[in-house]
Amino acid sequence: MIWDALTLQLGYNATLVTIGAALLGMAAGATGTFLFLGKRALVSDAISHATLPGVALAFVVMVALGGDGRALPGLLVGSALSAAVGLLCVSALTNRTRLSEDAAIGAVLSVFFGFGIVLLTVIQSMNSGRQAGLESFLLGSTAGMLWQDAMVIASGGAIVLLLVAAFRRPMTMVAFDRVFAASLAMNVPRVELAMMGLALAITVVGLKVVGLILIVALLIIPAVAARFWTDRVGHVVISAGLIGAVSGYAGAAVSATAPALPTGPIIVLVAFALFILSLLTAPNRGVFAVVLRHRRFRARVHVRQGLLALAQGQPIYEGLTLRLMRRRGLIRADGVATELGRTQAGKALRDERRWQLLRSDPAYEEAAASYDGLTPLDDVLTPDQLGALDRELQPKGVF
C-alpha cells in the first residue's frame, strides 16, 4: 500500500496531492534556508498565524459579493494580505519600539490568530458559513483538493523556487552580514522584504495542504537539517529543497494510504525524522561524527603521553592510557613496553625534542605556531629541514 502510494499508484487525487506537496516542500525548504541563516526562522511563525484573519475576511467578502466563499484563490489573496499586515506589524514593533523581535513575533501571532478565531466564530453564525470548513486551514486538508487547487499550489511553489534562484546572492549576503551588504550599497531593507515576501508566498501556498500551524515546520526543519551536511550556502539551499521535497512527497504519499493519517502532520513528522537522521549521522557536524572525533583525539593525546612516559622510563598509572596502549600492542599486560612500544616511544621522544628545539629557535617561528603536542614534526618540516634540526640536536664535541 505504501509502495503503491510512493509510486503514485493510488489514483488521480492522491497523485495530485503528492506531487503538489513535493513541489511545495522543495520551495519551502529553499526559502526557509535564508530565514534560518539570517537567524530569523520564527518570523515565519508570525506570518503563518497572521493568515487566519485574512482567510476569514476573504470568505466573508466573497459571500457578501454573492460568490462561493470557499474559492481557493480568493482565500489565498486574503491570507496573503493579512499576513503582510502581520509582517509589517512585526517590523514596526521591532524597529520603532523597544520590543525585541521575538516579543514582536509572539504578540503578532497570538493577536492575529485570536482575531482570526473571533472572525471564524462570526462566520459560523452566518447562514452560508455553517459548512464553510475554514477550520481545515488550521491543520490543512487535502481530501477534497481539486485540480485547480493543485495547480495553484504547484505553480506557486515553482514561481517561488525561481525567485529564490534569482535572488540567492543578495539574500545570502544579507542573511550573513547586513552591515557588509549595506556597505556595498545594497538595499538591505528591500532584500529583507523580498526574503519575507517569499516566505509569505510559501506560507500562503501551503495553507491548504499543511495548514497554518504546521507550515512553519516546512520552512524551518529542512533548512536546519540541511545545515548539518554542508558548509556552503548553495549546497544548503539545494539540500534543504531536497529534504523538503522528500518530506512533502513521502508525507503526502503515506497519508494517502489511510483516512486517519492527516497530510500536514505526516509531512512534518517525515521532515523531523530526516532532521534527527541529519543531527545524528551527518559527517563532520553530526553527533556521531563529533563523538567519534572527540574519542579519536582523546586516544591520540593519551597514547602520546603514554609513549613519552615509556621513553623516559616513568611508570604509567592512568587507566585509559594503559588500556589504549595495551590494545595497540605498545605494552604487555604487566605494563612493560613491547618491541613496537619501545620503537614508537623513542620516536615520540625524538619528535618532542625536535619540537622543543624548533620552538626555541626564532628562525622556525612559522612552523612553531603549528605546535599542538600531537602533530609529528615530519608532517610540518621537509626532510632537509629535519636534517638541519637533527644536526643541532647532536651533543657537541662528541665526534
Binding site: K39, G106, G114, S125, I220, V224, P262
Partner: protein
Amino acid sequence: MGEEFVVLSLAPMLIGVFAAVACAIPGNFLLLRRQALIGDAISHVVLPGIVVAFLVTGVVAAWPMMLGAGGASLVAVGLIEAIRRLGGIEPGAAMGVVFTAMFAGGVLLLEQSDTSSVHLDVEHALYGNLESLIWLDAQGWASLADIGALRGLPPELPRMALTLVLVTGLTWVFWRPLKLSTFDEAFARTVGLPVSLIGLGLVVVAAIAAVAAFDAVGSIIVIAMFICPPAAARMVTNGLEAQVAWSIGFAVLSAVLGYVLAGYGPLWLGFDDAVSAAGMIATVSGAILGLAAAFGPCRHRSGVSASAP
C-alpha cells in the same frame, strides 16, 4: 448585572482574569530575558501531552491531562536545549523544530486514537471553551455566600485561582534573585546565585501557568497573555515593579473587556450569537499593545530619539 450575570458570566470572567494574570506575571521576566516565545512553544506542545495522558488513562480528566501537558512541556524544553547544544543551532530554530514536530505528533495521535466519545479535539485545545464554564447552581449574588452553590462552581475556577496564588507567591518569594539574574546574569553568578536553576524555575512556573490556563481557556490566550500585557507595560514604564503592576492591570483589562465584548458586543450590534471569548481577549490585548506602542511614554529604546527610524 443581576442573576443572569452571576450564572452565565461571573465564573468565566473570573477564570479569564486569573488565567490572564497568572500568565502575564512570568511573561514579564520571559520578555526581559528574550525568551518570549517559550510561551508559544509550550502552548503548542501541550496538545501531544494531553493526548498521551488521555491514551494512558483513557479518561478526559483534569489532573492526568495537566500532568501530561506539564510533562510534555518539560520534554520540549529538554529537547530544545539538547538540539541547541548538540547541533549548535540557534535557539529560535531549535524551538521551531521541536514545537512543530511535537504538535504534529499530537495531531496524528489524536487522529489515530478513538476520541469520538470524548470532548477532545484540536480546536478545543487552541481556543478553549471559556463560555461554557457557567455556574449553574447560582441563584444570584447571594449564592456567593452559599456553600452548596459554591460547590457547583466549575472546577477550573478554584484550580486557576490556586495557580495564580502559586505563581504570585513564587514570584514574590524569589523576586530579588529573579530580578538580578534577569538584568545582570554575570553579576548574579558572581554573588553566587544559581542562575541556570533560576532560569529553569522560571520556565517551569511559566509552564505551570500555561498548562493550567490552557485547560480552561485554550492556548491562544496563553500566548497572548505571556507577551502582550508585559510588552505593553514595557512601553509605559522603566521600572520592573511598575512594569509588573501595569502588566497585571492590562491583563485584567484584556480579560474583562474581551469577555464582555465577545459575549455582549454582537448583541449590541444586532447579531444573535456571541463570538469566541478567547479570541476576543487576545484581540483586546493586542489593541492595548498597539495603543502602548503608539503612545507609551517609554516606547523607544533608550538612546534612540523619537525621529530615528
